[in-house]
């Protein structure tokens, strides 16, 4: 990871320096070293803050909507974006939907060995964390704290989305910096969905009621989601008939999340950003994965963003499609 990181930063500088790109969309460390946030670097100088480490989980694809299309007039130069393998799916999906002007983008595919969740590190008893370093042995991280050092197994502290990593292959790029062999997908991403499906309707209802009642309608999920990228959300639009700023009753929470998931059904690349950014820790990906699982079961395997230009499952049909009445039974089992 360290090596890739150095190469990536050096290459970004080089591309900016030689004029190939005029902007860089990457990550910048925030107040703490683990607060890596998306940032648009517009000068060579500013690139000193560019980072690429275990905490760059954020998917930068969505930032390319603004930065590729509204990148200014003639001769403004391309915009460099750093994409991890999973991010490229979102990028492709946005290309499919004409949200990104491919011409204006230079994609640097960056290798990824999994991104960490600081909360999971904390859960393992570390306090006063001052740094996270790659250990010499392959699968461990060294956690330095105010009180000394400790080690953790990487697999134990990955982001939820990395638990079911799609694989290490980039689906689109102009240039690649990666040491990783593609080992294919990791884990069973539908495990959580299956667990819920196995519950009784009452249990499921209770589960969602408990989870969704935590929702504070901060819209972080919506803002982070690369598929949820409408210019104006229906929930903000008075003309839509369902506009609402906050939940006035608890069905509205459900309505918001179901509609959000429905709007991205067939377009969601399962990038996991919604769950990653939720300040309340709601497992929002369980909505999206339910749709993905149903789509796979009903209409055949489909991975949004696998390639640009795909025709999504909700804008396709076959004459023999499953009936909704049967879908409920099949989907639930």
């Amino acid at each position: 990871m360290q090596k890739v990181s150095e190469k990536v930063i050096a290459r970004a500088r080089e591309l900016m320096h030689d004029g190939t790109v005029s902007k860089v969309v990457g990550w910048k460390a925030g107040e703490f070293f683990y607060d890596c946030e998306p940032n648009v670097f517009e000068t060579e100088e500013s690139l000193k803050d560019l980072v690429y480490n275990r905490f760059c989980g954020a998917n930068l694809s969505k930032y390319m909507i603004k930065n590729s299309i509204a990148s200014g007039g003639e001769g403004a130069g391309k915009v460099l974006v750093l994409l991890k393998p999973c991010d490229t799916y979102s990028f492709n999906q946005l290309l499919t939907e004409h949200r990104i002007d491919r011409e204006n983008v230079y994609i640097l595919g960056v290798g990824c060995e999994g991104m960490c969740d600081i909360d999971r590190i904390r859960e393992r008893g570390f306090k006063g964390i001052t740094g996270v370093l790659e250990a010499d042995s392959g699968n461990e991280l060294v956690i330095t704290t105010l009180y000394g050092e400790g080690k953790v197994n990487i697999d134990d502290v990955l982001l939820n989305k990395c638990d079911s990593c799609k694989g290490k292959a980039h689906k689109i790029y102009d240039e690649l910096i990666s040491d990783n062999e593609d080992e294919g997908p990791r884990g069973d991403r539908f495990e959580g969905v299956r667990e819920l499906e196995a519950m009784s309707p009452e249990q499921r209802f209770a589960f969602w009621q408990a989870e969704l009642s935590k929702c504070i309608r901060c819209n972080a999920c919506r803002n982070a989601c690369p598929a949820c990228s409408c210019r104006k959300c229906v929930f903000d639009n008075n003309a839509s008939g369902i506009a609402s700023k906050a939940n006035t009753d608890s069905f509205e929470e459900k309505m918001f999340h179901i509609i959000r998931a429905f709007h991205v059904a067939g377009r969601c690349t399962d990038c996991g950003e919604c769950t990653r950014v939720c300040p309340q820790g709601i497992p929002l990906h369980l909505f999206n994965r339910k749709y993905i699982k149903d789509i796979n079961d009903f209409y055949g395997e489909y991975a949004a963003g696998e390639e640009a230009g795909q025709r999504g499952p909700l804008i396709s049909f076959t004459e023999q499609d499953i009936e909704p009445g049967h879908a409920v039974v099949k989907g639930g089992n």
Partner: protein, 167 residues
């Protein structure tokens, strides 16, 4: 594919009796049912049920839409939010859509939506899609009788209702 409507006899009878006795027992609970019908087949099928005097409970209220594919999942969720106990969506039989392909999209959307509603714990029977042609007045009536019976059996939409902000 059309389903064979297996009418639940006692429940239908109960529903009919309840409907009949509505004015005597004023406070008795009746389900609220929203039916979306496409203009070309199902709405006409409902008209035929009417002109053939094939009764079904008055709990069913029909909203006319040009095609079943006009029905946005938001409408269905809105209905539940506002206290509907059941929502049924009727369209032309697959292959017979007036707009040739509309109901195929409906079928996919609703398959996913219904599966999701089931997933969040809403009872399976509260939503339904039926294909009813303009010639199937009898079928329209049978479908509605059956649906009302099933919803009556399920009772008030407590799960959603409890959460609802009662006005």
């Amino acid at each position: 594919m059309s389903v064979n409507v297996s009418v639940n006899e006692p429940a239908v009878k109960a529903a009919a009796e309840n409907a009949a006795g509505a004015n005597t027992e004023n406070k008795e609970w009746r389900p609220r049912i929203v039916a979306f019908c496409c203009n070309w087949c199902s709405y006409a099928g409902a008209d035929l049920a009417g002109s053939s005097r094939l009764s079904y409970p008055a709990d069913v209220k029909i909203i006319r839409v040009p095609c079943s594919c006009r029905v946005n999942p938001m409408f269905i969720l809105k209905a539940f939010e506002r206290g509907a106990d059941g929502v049924i969506l009727c369209g032309c039989h697959p292959g017979d859509c007036h707009y040739s392909t509309g109901n195929y999209y409906t079928r996919r959307r609703m398959a996913l939506l219904f599966s999701m509603l089931d997933y969040i714990g809403v009872e399976r029977g509260r939503t339904r899609v039926e294909w009813v042609s303009a010639a199937e007045g009898a079928r329209f009536s049978a479908v509605m009788n059956d649906f009302v019976a099933k919803i009556t059996e399920l009772g008030e939409n407590v799960k959603v209702g409890d959460l609802r902000c009662k006005k």
